[in-house]
Symmetry: D3
């Protein structure tokens, strides 16, 4: 089996730069796969794709060494297993609030005796190798999202689930949950403390800390905190933001002359 | 009929900022339609879409005031007419090298007595108004691409075709044709002269000058030359470039601390 | 945020005419969006679409002032949240039989502190406004389907769930459940009594009463009962029925001459 | 080979009721295929489908005895042949204005020695029978659209092309061409004369007369004139019109009580 | 209602040859539907399709007498009901390990009073007949997958659920579960005993025994054991294997000359 | 630029085994790309795909070292150029009957000064390298189909067009044309003579000889004649044939016991 390159990056003390895909298109996925990300996550929670398009986007990513990952829209074994069968090297699962939820999630990603994943790695077998089923339990990444007060309360219990690889902070939802209402982004000691606590627990349980950020600045700051799986913006954010910049720059230059 | 907003911009002496769509996705099209472009061109020549997706992208653009346009992949009446029926406010046609080619193109965009467009504006009727057929000859834009030495030779003949609205410079192809071989972008007096000549002919024949540019700098320079329909990069270029920038900025900040 | 126009109709004592979409196509959705319905419901339970097509159909509806809604195929938070993120102004959820089921459903539609909806309104933010997250709890409609004897038994408990906006009668299923077997449509005192009881409970709890009907006659009768959200046929029923009528009318006229 | 049922209807003196498909969906196509039409035409000229969806719609139609036909968007052999290979029992070709254009069209539908159709009836072989290639020249229908003054001028020359089966009137375009400008529908002696002349030429050359109509009334009138292939409205017209009727009927009944 | 042909085959003592579809394409589905299988199962667990494509594939299958079935990716009522509404004649449900799970599954496939399936057989009504709802409880097949040690432990309890039609062995998963780890295919007395026990229980409870096999040899052996619903390879396995054979045969012949 | 691996195979005296894709699916394309073919041709003439799906299939093929090629449905520059821009390493063009047709075809595949291909290699640039435009004229393969008597008559003129790489025999069409009618496959001296003549002309003009065959036997025989680009069956033929074999083998084994 083609080993999971992300494990090697972490083994060497590196950081994984992860892109985030909301646009349901093989072409935008392939463009992102050439942009320098170590991995790309097809987001089936807040993105725009059916599972069929998600699978095709993982095919597009497979044209490069970039690693395909997926976020499911809920902790449902059916979706988790399909995405793994289709070649995802790991699953990000939202809203893991308890140890039991984490066990259900991790179990869905692991074959007997470590879990209850159903055998049938249709595309994984083809693209990762005929021994996929023998190796998958060691190679597939399980990434549990910490994004509520409840999860913070149960953090060490969640972190201690055997087979878990990462605590992935859903920054937006965690802020919302900690404040008890929608608040604008900005200085946020409540969130900051939680981010510190999560990375501390990651160290304690030998897990990778991961998260979503909205700028290079916050990404760099989080890497300094110890996060080793860092997402920066989504593809549609990148597209919309840069289009606005480019128009604005042109207009400025037109006016300045 | 909902009048073509681009004509009003030009009537007021303004410039149209035009985005360029290669990603075959309704979502990326809608994101671009919110980014501040006056118009968006679905490119069926060098883009990745079937005509069905192109039509759906024009639907996505119609959720905003941004004006949907299309570039066909060749001077074929069948494709030109379908895109107009589906709600394009104008057609960019590649490789117009002679007066006869220009007449064939313009004729395909105009109903009798100005052309030979077939009657059946299925979606145009629904979204632009029931009197579409009465008004379309005045509202639909015809944009002929000038991108070869031969076209430069026939420039004034092409420009004089009744019903033509724009000369649109295919900058890449024109450079290739002028040099007689693939040359890198850069200082290019041959191209520069041609750009000057084309805009002069536009002024003479009361046409809009349009073109594709690859940076805000060149866009602004072209606007100063007199071009009033300016495209800056494609959507997939924007996405790939900005992703690379964002990764690079993050890495720089990580290292600089 | 662009406020939910349906709330204004009801505030003014009006009735919402709601169309129902089974055909997985952006074009038929756009045609229906121009036909005079106040809202259109993309039906993911008995319709033919993947979630990706459902999202694209909501884009097509957004080209008009018609309000996009969605019915999920089951009370699953993952699907509910995706459709809201993609721009649905409300969710119809089938088979709400108990207070707990209703709470789970409503909670999935509301951000903290009113529920547990995950933050990430990708398309909603773009098309409804940047303050979407602040306002969504007040604007998004929650419509619980009452369609079993058990639900009738628990009707007032279901109706009393905070944040619920509508009881939506699944007429076909409710008839089936009340009779204990499939029975043909027709005079049906059992069903009629239930419809009366439901609208009475709606009045008591200040909820809107909604339902699906199969003809203008029954729709008008239900509006007189007090239902204020009335669906009449599905798109594919409309298409098939009218095609048969048109053929029949033609044949009759041919024969009558 | 499964023989073309339309030829039998005509042999028995009957009339073919033909439905017209603009919605790019297998489901609406299957609904229409159950509505009582003898044939359904997938319209690639003014409809919304790529060729791939058109093929899939012909599959949906094949679930019933209804006969799949296609209209191409232009007289191009590549498209004509693909649709035949995919199982169309006949092709309607727009804008046949001269004998040469008609010969090119008919030739694209016929194998050697009657034409130049390329051999490779991928789906036709599967669904119509292994002897398809032997029989296709006799079974496939060629339907040339008469829709310009020029075509009227050349009518008998066009009609005399060997292998042609039908003159199909593009009513809207023909009216436009005869009047020299867009005119509203209504009493139209110019068009009426042309319709009489075309059906007379059909009788002379033993061709079927076909056309598009917008109401049962005009369809019936055309059948009385002798037209034997009659289209009544498009699928999206049917859908939009009937939706408006149903809403209006409901509102009338609500108000009348 | 068009009765389920599979029930008749079994009533006559026959065996059902079932094909398995992983390729998300209407065309490959139609090709398989002409290949001689009695039924085809669209596999939404380890296959590559969204539910929308799955529905379209069932349309493609409906062009022939072959019977469309579906495997869901998990025991979720929402998916089960959609596939039935779309015309599946039966559902294969993975991972049925307890009587309660089996009851939930079977209940999702049956209308009141035998279950809790929601009424709305959109496509089933169209293609199977207007009395579908009256007959469906007798015609729809419920096929529970036995694929874990736990299921073997609960086998007779699962088998005794009223309304269940088949025990379908998930051979790969059952081997994995029995051995407690991934093991290569081959001589396997543990699995063999389980297969014997399952077919014995099928006989006792008057159920059909079904399973997935990977070769004609094992299929024939299983038919001799008493299995009456036998799947042989998937479509993508067939395609890949035969392509390799054909290349190899050609190379051998080239070398042997 | 990533050089065209097929040129290297031929330079080393080898033969290219080419698979043929009619199924419009990324998954079947990826399965075929792992089966051992040197190249795969997406057939837009007798296959079932839109150009958008064709492009996506080339992405799927790009996950492996297999070389993506495409057959266009007609000698149209628009389609030829789009497929090259999307990453095809070569184009097979049907019905090249004259030197002029061959020049038009080859010119559409070559940039100035060797042809008139438009510059804009969107995907080719990304996946083959930033110097694609400099190298493409040497790397892209031009494969002209010889499939009529007329082409045989003009064979040496066609073969002499500068920049042409291959004569590709359309065996089925050529047999049809030589016999003047549809004839069954089998012993065919007319065709055999033509095949000998074509390969002789290939040798004379230093072109590769290519063709489509329907069995390993005929493929091997053609390789012995000197053909170096050999296609064996289509993907849907492989699928259907092998399914029938597998069912038949199983039934035989069941009966033989």
């Amino acid at each position: 089996m083609k080993l999971n390159p992300l494990r090697e990056i972490w083994a060497n003390g590196g950081t994984v730069y992860n892109g985030w895909l909301h646009i349901p298109s093989m072409w935008s996925a392939e463009v992102m796969a050439h942009a320098g990300w170590n991995s790309l996550t097809v987001d089936l929670q807040h993105g725009m794709h059916s599972i069929e398009t998600a699978i095709q986007m993982m095919q597009a990513i497979s044209t490069t060494p970039t690693v395909p990952l997926a976020r499911v829209n809920w902790n449902e074994p059916g979706s988790i297993m399909r995405l793994l069968d289709a070649g995802a090297y790991g699953i990000i699962c939202p809203m893991i609030n308890t140890r039991a939820e984490c066990e259900a999630f991790v179990g869905a990603c692991r074959y007997v005796p470590l879990g209850y994943r159903s055998l049938g790695p249709t595309r994984a077998n083809l693209v990762m190798g005929a021994d996929y089923a023998q190796q998958a339990n060691q190679q597939v990444l399980t990434m549990a999202m910490i994004e509520t007060k409840e999860a913070m309360h149960n953090l060490r219990e969640i972190a201690s689930v055997a087979g878990l690889d990462m605590l992935f902070v859903g920054t937006g939802d965690l802020r919302l949950s900690l404040h008890g209402q929608v608040v604008p982004e900005g200085q946020d000691p409540l969130l900051e403390d939680a981010l510190d606590e999560i990375i501390a627990v990651c160290r304690e349980f030998n897990l990778v800390g991961g998260l979503f950020t909205t700028s290079p600045e916050s990404a760099a700051r989080m890497i300094h905190k110890g996060y080793r799986f860092v997402t920066i913006k989504t593809d549609s954010n990148l597209l919309g933001e840069y289009a606005r910049q480019v128009i604005q720059q042109t207009k400025s230059q037109v006016e300045s002359k």
